[in-house]
């Protein structure tokens, strides 16, 4: 199960993501975030505080959406990322091409 709730499109695009980002849900996440990025014209922030798990298929979807944002000239940012998920993103070098803010407990 994954939920992508668009909180704002303009002027500061923001969506709140909740659930597991895995082989079963990656496409749904990707479609929803690509739709938001398509409408946005500024850096787009995803609130990841509700994301409890990310596998390689989820990472692939994040990379696809980050590329789409880069092609439009802005960035995709992840905020409030849980420690376990943050560790996965770092292991795969995602912190080298996108801003990722870890959840501070």
């Amino acid at each position: 199960m994954i939920s992508v709730e668009v909180v704002s499109v303009s002027p500061a695009p923001l969506a709140r993501v909740t659930g597991r980002l895995d082989a079963q849900t990656a496409q749904e996440f990707q479609d929803a975030v690509l739709s938001l990025v398509g409408k946005a014209d500024h850096a787009t922030r995803l609130d990841f505080s509700g994301v409890e798990y990310v596998s390689s298929m989820g990472l692939r979807a994040i990379a696809v959406t980050a590329k789409a944002a880069a092609r439009k000239g802005f960035s995709l940012r992840l905020s409030d990322v849980r420690p376990e998920v943050y560790s996965i993103l770092r292991r795969c070098g995602f912190d080298t091409f996108m801003e990722i803010n870890r959840h501070e407990s």
């Binding site: 895995d22 082989a23 079963q24 798990y53 596998s55 390689s56 298929m57 990472l59 692939r60 990379a63 696809v64 980050a66 590329k67 880069a70 376990e84 996965i88 292991r91 795969c92 070098g93 080298t96 091409f97 996108m98």
Partner: protein, 144 residues
């Protein structure tokens, strides 16, 4: 030693119940949610590869997942009778290039390698055996 043997078919729908079962087993073995997180992740990566690539004919096959939790080590084995595939020979993933030129996929094997201490493969009696082992860190103990 505690051990779970689970068999699923090679369909994506059977993955989520398997991962739930693995997490419950790890919890019953007195390991933390962090242990369950890592085990679920490496099992998903290994099993998704089998489902996607091991049976090009699309026929139904079994995939066996075995988890063993000992005093010092968690060991996970994934067994299938699909086409021979040795994940240990996959070249390292690109995790440093700029986003514009970086491939978007191919991180599953990278995650397995980076999370586990040992990753081994052998082909025996027409089956692929992928074994992944990790020394249990103190923080994985629920009573730590």
């Amino acid at each position: 030693m505690k051990r779970l043997d689970a068999t699923i078919g090679n369909t994506p729908e059977e993955l989520a119940p398997l991962l739930e079962r693995a997490a419950a087993f790890i919890g019953e073995a007195a390991l933390s949610p962090a242990a369950a997180f890592e085990a679920q992740l490496v099992i998903e990566e290994a099993v998704v590869n089998v489902i996607r690539y091991a049976f090009p004919g699309g026929e139904r096959h079994d995939i066996v997942v075995r988890i063993e939790i000992g005093e010092r080590e968690m060991r996970i084995e994934v067994i299938d009778d699909g086409v021979p595939f040795d994940p240990t020979r996959v070249p390292p993933a690109d995790v440093t290039s700029p986003i514009e030129s970086r491939p978007v996929g191919g991180l599953g094997i990278h995650l397995i390698r980076s999370m586990m201490d040992q990753v081994g493969y052998h082909r025996y009696d027409g089956h692929n055996h992928l074994t992944m082992a990790k020394t249990i860190p103190p923080e994985w103990r629920k009573d730590a």
